[in-house]
Structure formats: C-alpha cells, structure tokens
C-alpha cells in the first residue's frame, strides 16, 4: 500500500447559499460510488463533506471543498475565507453553536458539525485564524 495521490474533485461553495448547499457532497458521493468504494465508507464521507459544506455556507465568506483520493485513503479538505473559529474546544462540543437565529430557523446550526466530522473521520486537522479556516479530515480505506 502506498499513499500515492490519484485524483482531486473540487467544488466552490458560496456563503449563505442554502439552496445549493449539499450539491458538492452529493457529487462527491456519486463520484466515489462510481469508483466502487465501499458503501459504509462512502456514507461516512458523505456525512463529513456535507457538514463541511454547510459550515462554509453558514460561517464563512465562501470557500472550497475538495475530495482527494489516494490509493489508501480519502481526504476531505475545506478551505474558506472568513472570521475563523474563535474557540476550537467549544466548537468541538456537541450542541455548541454560534449560528444565528435566522440560520437555525432554516434547520441548520444544531452544533453537531465539527463533532460529527471528528466522529466519522480517522484524522482531523484544523488550522484557523482571523482570515480563514483550513480543515483536513482523513478517512482510511
């Protein structure tokens, strides 16, 4: 097994565009399916990439979602421009959310985003600052 890089799928995510939120992750899902990847792994990746996509829509000024395929792992990468995560420990707590009421009225912002990403990935790296956030979630094959 090598960790040779094979392919990157990328999607632009627009801030506050709740209409198309979820399109990136469902496209990732169908791409992985056509590669013959195990259904349970696809399901975990679908959850992770959906949460990441929604986070970019809610909290940032816009960003990108990538799905990198290696021979032995799949890496979901989120890069956004925005205010960053103020308190990572709090953000990792289930139920903690900084989403506004108007976002919650749409059914988002339950405070499960980052906890779910951590739960379903095997490695999670978060780099955040006042200009943006980079999240790298790894799922081993």
């Amino acid at each position: 097994m090598t960790d040779r890089f094979l392919k990157r799928y990328s999607y632009n995510i627009t801030a506050n565009d709740f209409m198309s939120a979820g399109k990136g992750s469902s496209s990732i899902k169908s791409n992985l399916k056509s590669l013959g990847i195990d259904a349970n792994i696809i399901r975990r990746i679908a959850i992770i990439s959906y949460e990441i996509e929604i986070n970019i829509v809610i909290h940032s000024f816009g960003g990108k979602l990538h799905c990198d395929i290696y021979e032995n792992k799949i890496v979901i990468v989120s890069e956004d421009i925005g205010p960053g995560i103020k308190d990572i420990d709090m953000a990792m707590t289930e139920g903690f959310s900084t989403a506004t009421d108007s976002v919650r009225e749409l059914g988002f912002g339950a405070g499960m985003g980052l906890p779910n990403i951590k739960k379903y990935s095997e490695g999670l790296e978060i780099n955040t600052g006042s200009t943006g956030t980079l999240i790298i979630a790894t799922i081993n094959l």
Partner: protein
C-alpha cells in the same frame, strides 16, 4: 446458457422503449433494431412488458421433447405456487395437482412444501445471525442478478437460503431415488414456472450448487392442456399443498410465512431499485429482512402467468385464508435434521465474489469515460443507440461503439 427471451427483429421498430427501461442497460439499438447483450441480461422481463409491438416473447427450449420423448425416465413436476391462482375461484386444488399427473408426470412435488421448510430456515438464520442487516431474499433470480450487476457491494447481504424450487427439486429427487432405487440420471425434474428468470437459475445459477431442476416449463405453455384436464378431473383427493407455503406466490408472503415482524416487502423493478439504493447508502440496517421481488405483486406478476397479477394474488389469498389446511407436508418432520446438515445454505462461487478494480484503475477508467462523456451533448436522447450519454461514453471506452454514432454532434457538424 439458455436464453429465455426471444426477439423478433421484424416486429421491432426501434422505438427505444425497452432500451430506456432495461435496469442493467443491457439493450442497445444497432441498425435501428434492439439488441440484448446477453452477459448483462438479468431476465427480469421488463422489455417483454413494455414493448408496444410485442417483439419480445419469453421462451424455454427443449422441455417439450424432454417431457414427451423420454418414456423411460421418472418424471417429476414441481408446480409454482402461483399456479393455484390461475384458475377460477372455487377450483379444487387437488384437481389441479392430479391434472398435472395426467399430463404425463410420475410424481408432483409441491413448491409450497419446500416453502414451508425455507420459511423455517429463513427465520432461524435471521434470528441466529445478526451480523448482516438487512438480509435480502435469494428467491427472486432477477433481483439477485440485478444486485450482482448494479449493486455488487450488496452481494454480502443476500441471505443464501436455497429457494423453494431448488429445495423441492432436491427432496423430490431424493424421494424417487430411495423409493424406486433409481439413479440420478434416470430422474427428470421439471419446474412449471411463472418466470423466465428461473430458466437462468436452472442453467446458470448464482451460487456453488448444482441445480436439481433439469427443465423449466413456461406456465402459459401448458396452461391450456392443464385446464382441460382440470375440468375433466373428478379425483378430489391428493397430498394437499401447504396453504401458508402457497403465499410465497404473492409479495410479502415469505416474510409473513416465516413469521418475521421487522421486514420490508418491496416488488416491481423501479421500487426495488429505490430500496436497494437506500441499503447501499448504508440505511435500513435496522431492518432484518428485505423481500425484494422484481415483478409487481411478486411471482404472480411473472410474464409466464396467464391471469392478471392482482386477480391471481386475490385467488391465492382466498385459497390460503379460507380453505381448511389439510396439508401433510412429506418432509416437514425432517427439518431439524436437514437444517443441521446445512441443506438449505449455499455460498457464492469464488469467481462470483465482488471483485473490484484497484482504486488506481478505477480512477483512470472513470477519467477516460468522463473525458468522452464531457464531449457529448448530455441530452440522453438515445439516438445513438445507447440509453444515456454516459452509457454511450462507456461503450466507446470499451470499443463497443463509435464516438461519432452521436446523432446530435453529427448534425451540428
């Protein structure tokens, strides 16, 4: 492999209905006539049902000669459970069974007896083995093949309990061997079938067993002869079919018979595709058993049946709910012994196991197909002879058709 769907080129007008309908995209149009790729065909009969010009007919070969020209052989008939739903309300079921004998068989082994055993085996396996959820039934040969081609990752979910037809064949053979001291080759087993896919289950089974049934008789091909006998027949005693086993003919019947309470009964090609999608997405793992049958209403919807599936399921339910159950199942006492010996279980053949491409190969293949597909107009018009632009791109990748077959691009040029 015997092919059970006959195609009349002269009747085909190239309308693309079957091509769009085919769940495994096995049909292409070549020179404006439909062409079935046999290796992809799952014998579900969707093309037979949708063709407006009746170009497709289900067929089974050689059974007639085998039935009439081998007087020295001991001939066993296994009638499908749907057969009892094909006669007018009130027809005595013993008359039906005795009439089958009159057609020239030595012995009738009812599928419903085998269904009794299969139901018990299903229940035990589901209760004892909780690792895989949901289990998917292995009785519908078309559904199994759909899973094989379209949902290979779900092959592990199949329950691998032999279907009643196979159990009936094995037990009937054993009975004849012991009772008359016969050799296996002196026994011929005929299944009277509602379904063209059963022919495939007999000639080219999925699984590591040798099929016990030799020939498949399409129900509609002997129905006329049988009906005449039923009218003439006056013997109303027989070894009675199992009335609960008979319910396997109707969707939901096997789950009900096995006494399951956490199951999904889904029937009809479009519907089972939706449920299989759900399972593949990792959902439904809280369900014990999925009874997925390719035909609407279950086996009564098979293309060899004579009577409308709704009328037939009503007749079956009427018989099994209203008649007194006088069934003496010849093999029910042997269930424990058979179950312990692994009689009901089977495995996949080595080459049938889910063999995926390495990720590297899969990515490369996908890239090339996508490259081709991106150049196509994306209208999925079907004029090139493939059901979708993506299917055309795959054909071009596999050297099975020319990129320039795309009519839209040719017109633009």
């Amino acid at each position: 492999m015997n092919f059970s769907i006959m195609f009349d080129k002269d009747k085909c007008r190239g309308c693309t209905n079957c091509m769009r309908r085919c769940p495994t995209q096995a049909i292409r149009l070549i020179n404006n006539k439909a062409f079935i790729n046999i290796s992809k065909c799952i014998h579900c009969g969707e093309c037979i049902k949708i063709c407006p010009y009746n170009a497709y007919t289900p067929e089974s070969i050689e059974w007639y000669e085998q039935m009439h020209d081998s007087p020295k052989k001991y001939k066993i008939a296994i009638p499908t459970t749907t057969l009892y739903g094909q006669f007018p309300r009130g027809t005595d079921i013993c008359k039906v069974q005795n009439s089958i004998l009159k057609l020239g068989f030595d012995f009738v082994y009812d599928t419903s007896w085998a269904a009794d055993l299969a139901a018990k085996a299903l229940k035990l396996k589901i209760e004892n083995e909780k690792k895989i959820r949901p289990y998917i039934t292995t009785t519908c040969p078309a559904a199994i093949r759909l899973i094989k081609y379209r949902y290979p990752s779900l092959m592990d979910n199949l329950i691998f309990i032999k279907e009643p037809m196979e159990i009936a064949g094995m037990l009937a053979r054993e009975r004849a061997r012991k009772k008359y001291n016969l050799k296996d080759e002196d026994i011929k087993v005929f299944y009277i079938s509602p379904c063209p896919a059963k022919l495939l289950a007999v000639t080219d089974p999925i699984g590591d067993y040798k099929p016990s049934v030799d020939w498949v008789i399409p129900l509609n091909k002997i129905y006329g002869e049988l009906y005449r006998e039923v009218i003439r027949e006056d013997n109303m005693t027989c070894s009675y079919p199992s009335l609960s086993g008979m319910k396997w003919a109707v969707a939901g019947g096997q789950s009900e018979h096995a006494g399951l309470n956490n199951y999904i009964s889904v029937h009809g090609m479009e519907n089972i595709i939706q449920i299989l999608d759900e399972i593949e997405n990792g959902k439904l793992s809280d369900i014990d058993f999925v009874e997925a049958l390719a035909c609407a209403n279950g086996c009564v919807g098979g293309t060899f049946n004579v009577v409308n599936p709704f009328i037939a399921s009503s007749s079956i339910n009427y018989i099994s709910n209203s008649l007194p159950d006088e069934c003496i199942n010849p093999d029910i006492d042997r269930f424990e012994e058979l179950y312990e010996s692994g009689f009901f279980n089977y495995k996949l053949k080595e080459e049938e196991k889910f063999n995926k491409l390495s990720l590297k190969e899969a990515v490369e293949k996908n890239e090339k197909i996508r490259e081709i597909c991106d150049k196509l107009p994306g209208l999925d018009c079907g004029s090139c002879g493939a059901p979708t632009c993506l299917a055309h791109a795959e054909d071009v990748y596999n050297n099975e058709s020319e990129f320039d077959d795309c009519v839209v691009l040719r017109v633009k040029k």
